[in-house]
């Protein structure tokens, strides 16, 4: 039943490896970008707050496919910005990381904001009373506590991100979904097997994420 895999025609592990890398880079990128967006949204500067709010509301409500295809069209095909990608696949990969980061950052921002809401106002106030600057209050007091409270929602964001990497197939990144499409076309007789195989692959990627972060959420919880 798995004999079509033995032909050596399909690099299944390689495709999932690209998916894992896509997820990892985009996760790091969106955690950073989401934190920056959060800082903007709670900043005392109205312009930053306005940009943060507008960005999150627009990008979060745009379908991911549109965000990623827009990255590809606008950056690569119109402005010829390839982000240093050597070939079509490489460029596709980098643009996909960019698009996924731009999109997932908004969900990280929302998860962090819900985390910030669990931090009592007195924490920031005590820090301000000591003479800390806005940035210090945010980075030393509020965000560390917000991150700990946001581990569970962040785990959901990361899991959703891992599955969202499949959209990158739309711009030719050589990840798992692209291979799946190819296999479905060529191996129509083994349709169910192909689906099961890819479902299993994604579970292998996402289940540990959920377990590890679930454990971390308990360990890191701030006791009040």
């Amino acid at each position: 039943m798995f004999d079509f895999l033995d032909s050596g025609q399909y690099d299944l592990l390689g495709a999932f490896w690209v998916t894992a890398q896509l997820a990892l880079y985009s996760a790091i990128g969106s955690l950073v970008w989401g934190t920056v967006l959060t800082a903007m949204r709670v900043s005392p500067v109205p312009l930053m707050r306005g940009f943060g709010t507008a960005y999150v509301n627009v990008v979060r409500n745009t379908p991911l496919t549109v965000v990623i295809v827009a990255c590809s069209f606008v950056l690569d095909q119109t402005l010829a910005i390839t982000l240093g990608g050597e070939d079509f696949k490489e460029t596709g990969f980098r643009l996909a990381v960019l698009g996924l980061t731009a999109y997932t950052g908004t969900f990280v921002c929302e998860a962090l904001r819900s985390g910030i809401n669990t931090v009592p106002a007195g924490q920031a106030e005590a820090a301000r009373a000591l003479g800390m600057s806005f940035t210090q209050v945010l980075t030393a007091i509020v965000l560390p506590q917000a991150f700990r409270a946001a581990v569970t929602p962040l785990a959901n964001v990361i899991i959703a991100l891992t599955k969202n990497t499949t959209v990158a197939a739309a711009i030719g990144a050589a990840e798992a979904a692209l291979l799946m499409r190819e296999m479905i076309e060529n191996e129509a007789q083994a349709l169910f097997t192909v689906f099961a195989l890819f479902a299993f692959g994604f579970i292998v990627l996402t289940l540990p994420t959920g377990l590890i972060l679930g454990w971390a959420a308990k360990r890191l919880a701030v006791k009040r």
Partner: protein
């Protein structure tokens, strides 16, 4: 000790020398609520001022305006001769000179007791880590919680947490300490351990503004009692004078309520 006695007759001393905190013509609104009305208040160096008054009279707001956690609409506040700066680096520096102790302690929940007392020194005063730790441990010793240094705030009793909060404020070497009902959230058996630390501070000559209903503390440690109601300072007097012979009806009424329950 000399600072304390000097402050008792600060009326005669030259103004610029003795006055540490000066509020004049301070007004503040929360929307339609006129929460501080024409507040004039001068606090001398080394003086201990107890602020009392009914709930909602603006005592907390008054405290919070002194380190500009709340802005004011009108009037001026100066600390050590310098007017309160607007938001920014200058304000942060000023705030670090004004220690604040909250009713709900507000210790940083994700930091150990020791880290709580070190953080301000490192982040604001740019003290070296080693020196900050030495100072923090000495202060924790002084307030009697040195044994809890490695624990997290949630593992401490309320009384211990509040003493850590006092140590955290003292670590900045403040010129004046503000206490906003520091014992109101405590179980009765823990009130004294906190008041004792405050009494010790008062004896050492710290300038203190204390919002409290602890009459024992007011009588033994305060140089002056300020009575507030409805956003105004109704009267000010020495503790003996105020408790034995309040002049205003509001104060008489208030005292009869808190002394008889």
């Amino acid at each position: 000790m000399s600072e304390v006695s000097a402050s008792k007759d600060h009326e005669d001393a030259p103004r610029s020398q003795a006055d540490l905190v000066v509020l004049s013509g301070v007004n503040k609104h929360f929307g339609a609520l006129h929460v501080l009305q024409d507040i004039d208040l001068t606090i001398g160096r080394g003086e201990v001022v107890v602020v009392i008054g009914p709930s909602g009279s603006g005592k907390s707001t008054l405290c919070r305006t002194i380190n500009r956690l709340e802005t004011i609409d009108e009037g001026t506040i100066t600390i050590d001769g310098k007017p309160l700066p607007a938001e920014g680096r200058e304000l942060a520096r000023l705030r670090s000179d004004v220690g604040m102790v909250f009713q709900s302690f507000n210790l940083f929940a994700h930091k150990t007791v020791l880290e709580n007392v070190m953080l301000g020194q490192i982040k604001v005063r740019r003290t070296e880590k080693k020196a900050a730790e030495t100072k923090a441990r000495a202060l924790l010793e002084r307030v009697g919680v040195a044994a809890q240094a490695e624990k997290y705030p949630a593992q401490l009793s309320g009384g211990q947490q509040q003493r850590v909060a006092i140590a955290r404020a003292l670590a900045m070497g403040p010129k004046v300490m503000l206490f906003d009902e520091p014992t109101s959230a405590l179980d009765p058996e823990m009130i004294n351990e906190v008041l004792e630390v405050m009494q010790q501070l008062a004896r050492e000559g710290m300038t203190m503004v204390v919002v409290t209903h602890e009459m024992g503390f007011a009588r033994s440690a305060a140089d002056r009692v300020v009575f507030m109601a409805d956003g105004r300072i109704i009267e000010q007097a020495t503790p003996e004078e105020f408790f034995s012979n309040p002049r205003s009806d509001r104060a008489k009424d208030f005292l009869s309520k808190i002394l008889h329950h």
